[in-house]
Amino acid sequence: MAVKIGNGTWYAEYNDFSGGLNVEQPETNLPDNASPSCNGFMIRNNELRSWPALTEFTSTFLPLYPIYGVTTFLDANSYYHTVIWTGNAGSGTGLYQYNPAGPEWDFVANATPGLLNSILSYRAFANILYYTSVGIVGPHYGGIGRPTVNPFLGYWDGIASNPVYTQTFTDASTSNSYAGVDKTDSPAIGGTLPGGPALTGPIAIGGAFLGELNNQLILANVTIADNGNGNKLYNFPNLIWWSANGLPGVWDPEVNPSAGFNAFLDVADQITGLATLGVAGYIFRNYGITQMAPTGSEAAPWEFDHMWASEHGIGNAFPWSIAQYGPTCAFIAQDNIYTLSIAAANPIGGKARDAIMADIANSTATPYANIIPQFNNGFVYLTYQVWIPFATFVRQYTYSFEDQNWTPRDLALAQISGAQQMLCPGNVV
């Protein structure tokens, strides 16, 4: 207890702030190190310090278009490329890379087969940056349905002048995605997909999420476009599709049997993220998690086990809240915020959970999150940051893995003309 009583006098002393936000006990009954109401103070190294100034990174030559992703990858020549994808640049989506000599953002090329209208999922594999996007239905998009998209997988190696987002097959057909199936095989593949759609082909494959395990790229929450039939779309929200082992350009199981797909028809929800821990992959759904483990078999490369397949359960309820840093994966479920280890899901919402969940419920868009190991070189602060958009600001909740506390901080970032101010999470580049 902070309060000490003397002979008609009293004092209270506070030099520990590590409890962070606590809204789940009466203000009079809190631990001395907690706050019932706080904002804009960080408690790194146990000092109660106002947050660093949110400052504009160089915007030279950056077009005024929405940003759908930011990351850095290392190319085969050992050069780093910090890239962003923006919507509505020319006829498609612009890929820009940071040029420290300016400093400025240089336009690389259009990066998608059509206009991008949803967040990207990206993954570097063998010094090549792969990226995909299909619009999916998040909790805040209810009522407007799944948006019309151009499902695709693209890549850029940091060396060529242009990214690649189409593929021409041996039968001379071309899919509007680097992940595709040629015209010859498409009817047979269609017959084995859920519902057995009659496909003309070639087909373009895209996913809401992209992962890698066992030297195979994995697309999850898949949409395909029948490029030979007016780009007719087929949505498979509980399907994953993987490339051939070591061959990220081969997605046709008729060409290489280590490529393939699997639909989880026995679950009631959709896939909302991927993570890999140890030798296993984890497929997150709204209300569940499914483990996938490599088998070593070419024809059946994965063994799938639902950790639970109940109607409701711990899952990644908000598609873009899942984040991973090394062996730590964090995500927001219906009832709490969790980290996932190989053994179990561990709640971390603590005494701030109710405030976070109330803000998510009242927000204007789905939350975004990421695990941030450092703010910059030399300023290490391993945190899970959750950005919750409101009309006039973005509330950032920060969880310190070291101190196991939460602190909120409002960013003075308002919507512009009603357009959502955040369309992807932050990232360390």
Binding site: W10, T55, I67, A412, V429
Partner: protein, 148 residues
């Protein structure tokens, strides 16, 4: 092998936050956000439940990151007798801390105030662009009724 199309030799190591068609970062050389305020309330202190107490001194230890002008706030309850509902009152005291030299040293501010009541909720409020604040220790002290 063909040469790279752009790129550089070391990653930036910087957190970038995309919003409103702009990429933002946290400038860890500047803890004075010009656009967002900061506040922190400590737990509410009963001292001894049912007894009226006073706060007459505040000792604030802080790291000197530059001149800041936050406010020290006390929310407290008063009632005319023990059976009446409380009313909540607030004492706000502007303070100035830090030096232009931003020495990074820990300094101490002693503040005299006079508040009598119960259920003390003390806090610190920093308006946007009111300077960098970094608190290491807070002590509040005063008197309390000896008899109920």
């Amino acid at each position: 092998m063909p040469s790279s199309n752009g790129g550089f030799m070391a990653p930036l190591g910087l957190e970038l936050i995309p919003a409103n068609n702009v990429l933002w970062y946290y400038n860890t050389a500047n803890f004075n956000d010009p656009n967002s305020p900061s506040y922190w309330y400590w737990k509410t202190e009963l001292v001894i439940a049912g007894r009226v107490a006073t706060i007459n001194r505040v000792v604030l230890c802080y790291r000197d990151l530059g001149i800041a002008t936050p406010e020290f706030i006390v929310n407290y309850s008063v009632s005319s007798d023990s059976n009446n509902p409380n009313t909540v009152q607030t004492l706000t005291t502007p303070i100035t801390i830090g030096t232009a030299a931003a020495t990074k040293a820990i300094f101490t501010l002693i503040l005299g105030i006079n508040v009598t009541g119960t259920n003390f909720a003390v806090g610190i409020f920093r308006a946007a662009n009111a300077g960098p604040v970094s608190i290491t220790n807070l002590r509040i002290q005063g008197a309390i009724e000896k008899e109920f």
